[in-house]
């Protein structure tokens, strides 16, 4: 099945009208000066509504989402996205608010934001939260900027280095670089944790921060975290928590109690807001009290005196603005709805079942796949194919073959420190039947790797396209449609 580009379906002159005719009398109309006027017409498609609806409906059928089936994409927490969240965000009382409306007309929205901040602070063990960042990486940027502003406010301008483990996500070093920091990468120890000796060697007077996920990208809880926090704080640096893996520990442990000073949380992972095919997300940042003055502007809070919620802009130490307005409010509404339905007990149960599901699936796969780190794992784990040398079957082939069995593949080739990694995160919303069936498929694939490796090399077989020529795509980029004149 293939769908033509929408532009090629266009018929000159076809149109659909959505507006009443202009009601300003002609004598009162103006015209633009010549220099301001557009001379050509942008080549947008000319179609009826039905043409457009059919086109995008068919495109949607070429996609695979959480609603299509199991989506064990490690580090992305592809849990079920409850429908009530979507409806809540679409309520006119939320969706039709202008960001510059007077605050007395948006008290319900500000209350929702303040309550979400409070709930996230409680879950993460932090004192204050901003909802402004638009995604995880944006939260990282906000957090590291606050750390740099904190050091600078103390006249401590030597701190220009940010330490990241070699298992870290690419956004961590990229963020630090964007803040003008130098990156120091430290190796992991054989258990997948931070190499303490290496850390001690590099932590010093020039260290601004250490960025860490816990559980790590290997799905393991870093149990030396208190010692790590001690080393970092003794060096005068701060500890940053990448909250991509928060789904493992809600109600069990809190980054704040582990010694982290700054945390970002992905609402589009842990708090069940949909990923949208690549966003919008939301990456709230929580901080300990001493960093509160540096939060981006404005801060949403309750003003006792006025008896109402306000947007506080007068914050001299703030890092400034990280985007226009107040963050991805629509996404926050969805997360708030999820929090309301789940409650404290529900969130803890979600983490418990996420860890249960991961450990169960890991147990089922242990016979046919290599498990580089023994359990218990947290919400995700890593396996690698066995006998790669003999079969010639790589992780990529296993992933693509999974598509034939109706699954979305796990995250592959990440973290970089495990060769041929398949990073599997089942999430708590998947049933035992689904996990059993997925494990059976993976086991069957490992047998196929021995018996019929060609089948795997050529997978997937039943998709509208098979493996794409990425080299050709990058050598001669074709990034847009252009009309083709014969």
């Amino acid at each position: 099945m293939k769908e033509q580009l929408i532009f090629t379906k266009s018929v000159a002159g076809r149109k659909e009208g959505y507006l009443p005719p202009l009601d300003i009398p002609e004598p009162q109309q103006v015209s633009l000066p010549d220099w301001a006027r557009r001379k050509d017409t942008p080549r947008l498609p000319e179609l009826t509504e039905m043409d457009v609806v059919r086109h995008y409906t068919r495109l949607s059928q070429l996609n695979y989402g959480v609603d299509s089936g199991f989506y064990p994409l490690g580090s992305c927490t592809m849990k079920y996205n409850p429908k009530i969240n979507e409806d809540a965000a679409n309520l006119p009382g939320f969706a039709q608010l202008h960001p510059y409306q007077p605050v007395e007309t948006t008290q319900g929205a500000l209350q929702l934001m303040a309550e979400t901040q409070k709930a996230l602070a409680e879950i993460a063990g932090m004192d204050a939260v901003t909802l402004q960042p638009a995604a995880g990486a944006h939260g990282e940027l906000t957090g590291i900027m606050m750390i740099m502003a904190y050091h600078a406010s103390r006249g401590d301008r030597r701190r220009t280095k940010v330490i990241v483990p070699d298992s870290s996500h690419g956004t961590n070093p990229a963020t630090a670089a964007l803040c003008g920091c130098e990156i120091v990468q430290i190796p992991s120890n054989p258990d997948g944790g931070v190499d303490l000796e290496a850390l001690k060697k590099v932590a010093g007077m020039d260290t601004a921060a250490l960025m860490l996920t816990n559980p790590s990208t290997l799905g393991l809880f870093e149990n030396q975290i208190s010692e790590i926090a001690r080393i970092i704080h003794q060096a005068g640096a701060l500890l940053y928590y990448d909250g991509a893996n928060m789904n493992a520990i809600m109600g069990y442990a809190r980054p704040g109690d582990m010694g982290f000073d700054v945390v970002h949380i992905n609402l589009h992972k842990t708090f069940a807001t949909p990923h949208g095919g690549g966003g919008p997300g939301s990456g709230p940042v929580g901080v300990k009290a001493f960093l509160e003055p540096f939060l981006p502007k404005p801060v949403v809070r309750y003003e006792m005196q006025d008896g109402r919620y306000i947007l506080d802009d007068r914050r001299p130490l703030s890092i400034g603005k990280v985007k226009a307005f107040y963050g991805n409010f629509g996404v926050v509404v969805k997360a708030y709805t999820y929090l309301t339905v789940m409650g404290g007990d529900g969130l803890k149960a979600a983490s418990e079942k996420a860890v249960l599901n991961a450990n169960y699936l890991m147990s089922l796969l242990g016979r046919d796949y290599h498990v580089p780190f023994a359990g218990p794992c947290k919400h995700e784990f890593i396996v690698t194919p066995k006998n790669i040398k003999e079969t010639g079957v790589h992780t990529m082939d296993v992933a693509k073959r999974l598509i034939d069995y109706g699954y979305h593949p796990p995250t592959i080739y990440f973290p970089l420190i495990v060769e041929e990694a398949l990073m599997i995160e089942p999430t708590e919303t998947e049933s035992k039947e689904t996990l059993d069936a997925f494990a059976r498929a993976l086991c069957k694939i490992s047998r196929e790797a021995k018996d019929d490796p060609g089948l795997l090399h050529e997978a997937p077989h039943n998709t509208p396209v098979s493996r794409m020529d990425e080299t050709a795509a990058a050598r001669k980029p074709v990034l847009r449609w252009v009309p083709y004149y014969e």
Binding site: E470, T471, A474, R475
Partner: protein, 126 residues
């Protein structure tokens, strides 16, 4: 340094000196580890390079590598064929896949001989 001698950097560039001129490219090991090269960014003509600075970029689907200048000097020619056919770097890294020619002003002091470079590659491969 003898004329026509090829020297190497720790970052996998090669440099071949002929009198006042030098030709620069990346090594076979470098192209192999990058995989299919999809794009090359070369320095502007007449740019004054300083030994050790980044003078360009080679890009494959899965990696991007900076190219470091192995010498100080002025860029007098760039291999424009690479802009359209970056695969020349994979096909013939020491020949048609060369990158720039420089009017030499001085070499990086830490260049490696062929033998030293071979050892480096052996180490890295392990």
């Amino acid at each position: 340094m003898n004329s026509n001698e090829v020297k190497y950097t720790r970052e996998h560039e090669w440099i071949k000196v002929e009198g006042k001129l030098a030709r620069i490219g990346i090594t076979d090991y470098a192209q192999k580890s990058l995989g299919d090269v999809v794009f090359v960014e070369l320095p502007d003509l007449d740019r004054e390079l300083k030994a050790g600075e980044v003078m360009g970029v080679v890009e494959s689907v899965k990696a991007v590598s900076d190219i470091y200048a192995p010498c100080t000097g002025r860029v007098i020619t760039v291999n424009e064929a690479l802009l359209d056919s970056p695969e020349l770097i994979n096909q013939d890294p020491f020949g048609d896949g060369w990158m720039v020619e420089v009017e030499l002003d001085g070499l990086d002091e830490e260049l490696l001989s062929a033998q030293e470079y071979e050892e480096l590659v052996k180490e890295e491969a392990e």
